[in-house]
C-alpha cells in the first residue's frame, strides 16, 4: 500500500488534470458540491458528503440523447451524447456503492449505453470516512464507512497523509505514473483500519438481513410526506427519468432529452384515460420505501439504500429512513 502527503494531493490532482477532467468536492457558501476543479478551487476533503449525490456524473440531471432534423422529406438523426475521460476525486463509500446499485439497473435486460459509457470512462478515487455525519447510517448496509470494492483508488485520512489502496488496474496505473506516492508502513495500514473501524462503531447498527417492513408504520410515516420530491433528486440510487423532445418553433429540428423524474410526482404514474394507480401521496411514499428496501433486494440481491443519510437530512417533515429500517428489524 502507498501513502501521499496531504499537501501533495493538489499537485497530484494538477497532474491528473492534464489528461482528465477532474471533479472534487468544493465548498461554496457552505454548500458542498462536486465541481470541476479550476486553479483557484480548493477541494474540501473533510466534508461529510455532497448535498446532491454524484450520480449526476453518470445519469445527468438532463442529457441530450439525440438530435433530429427534417430536411428534404427525410429525417436525420444525430448522435449528440458526449463523454470525456473523467476523474471523480473524494467520492464517499456510500456513493460508490450507490453506483454499484445503479449498475444493476443499467445492465438489466435493456442496457443503458449512456450511463455505462460514463461509468467505463470515469475513474473513481474514493475517500473513506473517519468521522460519521449526524444522519449517516451506511453501516446498516455495509456500504461504509470503509470501502471494499467499486473504486479505482481508495484514500483514507490518517493525519498528515492519506493512505492509498489500489482497487483496479486503472488505479494502479495512476499510482505508478506519479512521484507523490511513497510506501506505507504496517503501522499506517493499521491506523487507517482502526480509524475506519472506530468511525463505524459510532454509527447506528441494525441487522438489515432481518429486515421485514412494517407497512402500517410506513403508511403512518408516509401520511406526513409532502411529496416534495427532494429525496428522490438527491438520492444516490434513484434513477427514474423522463424523456422529452425539445423542438424548435418550426417543429422541424430538435433534441431528445432525458431528465430526472420523481416517483413522488402524481404525474409519474398517470395513465391515458386519467387513471392513476398511485393516486394518493401515501401510496407513492410506500412505493419509494419498498422499492429501496424490498423490490431492489429481491431483484438484484442488494438494497436500494446505501445509508448516505441525504433524505434524512433534507426531508422537510423529518421522515427518517433509518427509523423505518429500525422499525422493520425490531
Amino acid at each position: 500500500m502507498k501513502k501521499i502527503k496531504k499537501a501533495d494531493v493538489k499537485k497530484f490532482l494538477g497532474d491528473l488534470k492534464k489528461e482528465h477532467e477532474v471533479f472534487a468536492p468544493v465548498d461554496e457558501d457552505g454548500v458542498v458540491e462536486f465541481k470541476r476543479l479550476s486553479k483557484k478551487d480548493e477541494p474540501t476533503l473533510d466534508y461529510v458528503n455532497s448535498v446532491v449525490s454524484p450520480k449526476g456524473f453518470f445519469l445527468p440531471m438532463k442529457e441530450k440523447i439525440l438530435g433530429f432534423r427534417e430536411a428534404n422529406d427525410k429525417i436525420e438523426l444525430i448522435d449528440e451524447h458526449e463523454v470525456g475521460g473523467r476523474v471523480l476525486f473524494g467520492i464517499r463509500p456510500c456513493d460508490v456503492n450507490g453506483l454499484l446499485v445503479l449498475d444493476n439497473v443499467a445492465r438489466e435486460e435493456y442496457m443503458d449505453p449512456y450511463y455505462l459509457e460514463r461509468r467505463q470512462k470515469t475513474i473513481l478515487i474514493a475517500l473513506e470516512c473517519v468521522k460519521p455525519g449526524v444522519d449517516c447510517f451506511c453501516r446498516v448496509f455495509g456500504s461504509g464507512p470503509g470501502l471494499e470494492m467499486g473504486a479505482d483508488l481508495v484514500y483514507t485520512d490518517i493525519g498528515d497523509y492519506f493512505l492509498v489502496r489500489v482497487g483496479s488496474d486503472k488505479g494502479a496505473k495512476l499510482l505508478s505514473g506519479s512521484d507523490y506516492f511513497v510506501e506505507a508502513s504496517d503501522a499506517d495500514e493499521k491506523k487507517a483500519a482502526k480509524l475506519v473501524d472506530e468511525c463505524a462503531k459510532k454509527m447506528s447498527n441494525v441487522e438489515s438481513s432481518k429486515l421485514k417492513l412494517d407497512l402500517e408504520k410506513i403508511r403512518d410515516k408516509g401520511s406526513w410526506c409532502l411529496n416534495c420530491y427532494s429525496c428522490t433528486f438527491i438520492c444516490p440510487t434513484c434513477y427514474c427519468f423522463d424523456v422529452v423532445d425539445r423542438m424548435n418553433p418550426k417543429g422541424c429540428e430538435g433534441q431528445r432529452i432525458r431528465c430526472w423524474d420523481s416517483c413522488m410526482n402524481p404525474q409519474f404514474t398517470l395513465m391515458a384515460g386519467n387513471f392513476n394507480p398511485r393516486n394518493k401521496k401515501v401510496d407513492r411514499f410506500v412505493n419509494r420505501i419498498r422499492h429501496k428496501l424490498e423490490y431492489m433486494r429481491d431483484r438484484y440481491g442488494v438494497f436500494g439504500c446505501v445509508g448516505c443519510g441525504r433524505c434524512v437530512r433534507e426531508c422537510p417533515s423529518h421522515i427518517s429512513m433509518l427509523e423505518i429500517i429500525q422499525e422493520g428489524v425490531r
Binding site: V51, K62, C228, I257, R258, E314, P316, H318
Partner: protein
C-alpha cells in the same frame, strides 16, 4: 417560556378532546432527536405534544390536507398561512380551533437560527381561539437592501449563481403552505411554460413564475428555503414581491381574514381596493 406553553397546550388539548370539541390535534412531537409534526386523536396521548424553539415546521401545510375538526398550534407564520388559506377558501374556519403561541425564533439542530426567523416581523399569532404563553416583542422590518445586492447587474449575477445550483426538484413549491393548486402552471404540459430538461433560462422562468404567484400571499415562514437541498435563499424573492404589493395595495399577506386578496380582485377601472382596505384598518 416554551415549557409553560407546552404545559398549557397539553392541558388545553386534553380538555378539548375530552369535551369532543375537536376530532384531533395537529401539533409537534419528538421522533428520535427530531421535532416532527404529529396528530393526536385521544386525550391520553396529549403528553407527546411538545413546544420549543425547534418547532419550525409550518403546520398550515398539513392542515390543508386534514378533514374533520382540528385543533392546531399556530405560531406567527402558521397563523398567517391559515389566514391566507382562509382568504383563498382552502380552509373552513368553523372546523378549526387555533391555539396561538408566540415564537421564540426557531433554530436548527446545531442551534443556529434560521434566516427566515432572524428577519421575522410577526412572531405573535394573528388569529387564534385561545392564546398560550405571553406575547413577545416584534422586531422592526429590515430595510429593503438587507441583502446588500446593489445594482440590477449585481443582483442578476447573484441570482444566476444561486439558480445555477438549482436541481429543479420543486421542493420549494411542494412544501409551500400557499401552493395549493391542483394543477400547477410550473408542471403544465400544454402549454409547457417551463420546459423539463431545459437550461438555466427555464430555471429563471420557474423561479420568476413562482415568485409572481407569491405576490401578496407569502407569509414568510421560510419553508421553501429550508426545503431547498442546495440552500437557495428563495424567501428573498417572495418577500420582495410582497413588499411591492404592500406598497401598491396596502395589504400585508396573512394579517386579516377580511382583507381582499389584491391580485384576485384587482380592477384597473376602480382603484378601490387600496381605499377599502385602508378604511377597514381605520375602523
Amino acid at each position: 417560556m416554551s415549557a409553560e406553553i407546552q404545559d398549557a397546550l397539553r392541558s388545553e388539548a386534553r380538555k378539548l378532546l375530552e369535551e369532543g370539541k375537536v376530532d384531533k390535534i395537529l401539533g409537534y412531537c419528538m421522533s428520535g432527536d427530531r421535532v416532527v409534526p404529529c396528530m393526536v386523536y385521544a386525550a391520553d396521548e396529549v403528553d407527546k405534544l411538545i413546544y420549543n424553539n425547534r418547532c419550525k415546521i409550518n403546520l398550515a401545510r398539513y392542515l390543508r390536507e386534514c378533514d374533520g375538526r382540528v385543533g392546531v398550534v399556530a405560531k406567527g407564520c402558521d397563523s398567517r398561512a391559515i389566514v391566507e388559506l382562509l382568504k383563498a377558501k382552502q380552509l373552513d374556519r368553523s372546523d378549526l380551533f387555533i391555539w396561538g403561541v408566540s415564537c421564540p425564533g426557531m433554530v436548527d439542530s446545531e442551534g443556529r437560527q434560521y434566516r427566515s426567523c432572524s428577519v421575522c416581523t410577526h412572531r405573535n399569532p394573528v388569529v387564534y381561539d385561545g392564546f398560550l404563553g405571553k406575547l413577545v416583542e416584534e422586531k422592526p422590518r429590515l430595510k429593503d437592501d438587507e441583502l446588500g445586492l446593489g445594482s440590477r447587474d449585481e443582483r442578476m449575477s447573484y441570482w444566476s449563481k444561486q439558480f445555477s445550483r438549482c436541481i429543479s426538484c420543486m421542493a420549494c413549491r411542494n412544501v409551500c403552505p400557499m401552493c395549493y393548486c391542483k394543477e400547477c402552471v410550473l408542471e403544465k404540459k400544454d402549454p409547457e411554460w417551463v420546459a423539463r430538461g431545459g437550461d438555466i433560462s427555464d430555471i429563471f422562468v420557474y423561479h420568476a413564475i413562482k415568485a409572481m404567484h407569491m405576490a401578496g400571499r407569502c407569509v414568510e415562514c421560510g419553508e421553501c428555503e429550508r426545503a431547498c437541498p442546495v440552500d437557495i435563499p428563495l424567501m428573498h424573492l417572495y418577500s420582495r414581491v410582497c413588499r411591492d404589493v404592500e406598497q401598491l395595495f396596502g395589504v400585508e399577506a396573512g394579517m386579516d381574514e377580511n382583507d381582499k386578496p389584491p391580485l384576485s380582485v384587482f380592477d384597473l377601472e376602480a382603484d378601490a381596493i387600496l381605499e377599502e382596505n385602508e378604511k377597514n384598518k381605520k375602523s
